[in-house]
Subunit: 180 residues, 2 copies
């Protein structure tokens, strides 16, 4: 199908509302890196934080926008993912590799999430996020994670569905995802 | 944390850009129902359609906005999910039950997706969507689905990550998800 240019309807400080062929959507130029990180003890790293759009505390895999930090625009995607992981969780990855890149809500926005596999983890700090963030870190053993997430859900937390994609891929490792 | 009201920055025909406590986001009042549907032959129903925000053809599980059809505002969520499934895929569900309800991108929008399990499927038509949609239906056997999705991905299709959540839950059935 031929591509057509988008018309800008409104430019906010962070978000831009566009329209293409009569279809409104949010333009999102920076992708999000979402990190699948198992500790040496086979625990998945999860982060808990309050999210203003939904007015709920969420449980998510560590993630961050790529290329939005002043002075770090030229940082590689994997370096940025490693930095986000360390800031949010206090764990540093010895190895990072790119996984699948997917749209979060293809009818609503142009936002993409790039999954990143973090391996050879070493704990180097407490985590908790940068100055603008208030993050609680969780390390959940593989055997307990289904029940742990269900319990949080029933307690009223919002559960990021990317966690379940991460769990599926952890059981069914892709042959290769990095290239498109 | 105390809730605070959102300020509207821009109202489009379909989307509204809001701000709450200095955080911009897209307000989405209608949830999306996303349907996990295995045929009697153990094939997962997937739909293929072009998505303007990302300018790519996507592979997704069947899904639709709930409560956005004139005259159907009072339709129950499960009835709407069954209608969407039948419109998009041509398969009618004998039983529908609610699964987990999750935010698609909690930092970007207030959009929620309610997963719905469709069971006892019977094929009653060709599918393809309503007058505004152009949908191709796929029925992929469980044993082939990982490779099929990887191949589509490498061919340049966008893959909806909700598919992988659906696959995880299909292998790890939740005890109960409907209530929050």
């Amino acid at each position: 199908m031929p591509k057509s240019s988008a018309k800008t309807l409104y430019t906010g400080r962070y978000l831009v509302l566009n329209e293409r062929d009569d279809w409104e959507f949010v333009a999102r130029h920076h992708p999000v890196a979402a990190i699948i990180a198992w500790t040496p003890n086979d625990e998945l790293l999860l982060v808990e934080q309050y999210r203003k759009p939904i007015e709920k505390t969420t449980i998510e895999i560590p993630a961050g926008l790529i290329g939005d930090v002043d002075g770090s625009e030229q940082e590689s995607m994997l370096d940025a993912a490693g930095r986000e992981l360390e800031e949010e969780t206090g764990w540093r990855a010895g190895s990072l590799k790119q996984g699948m890149s997917v749209p979060t809500s293809a009818g609503l926005s142009s936002e993409y999430v790039i999954f990143v596999w973090a391996e050879a983890l070493v704990q180097v700090g407490p985590g908790g996020g940068d100055a603008s963030e208030d993050i609680t870190v969780h390390q959940i053993p593989r055997a307990e994670i289904d029940v742990w997430l269900e319990n949080r859900y029933h307690q009223g937390y919002a559960i990021d569905p990317k966690i379940y994609a991460a769990l599926y891929w952890s059981q069914h490792p892709p042959r290769s995802h990095g290239a498109t």
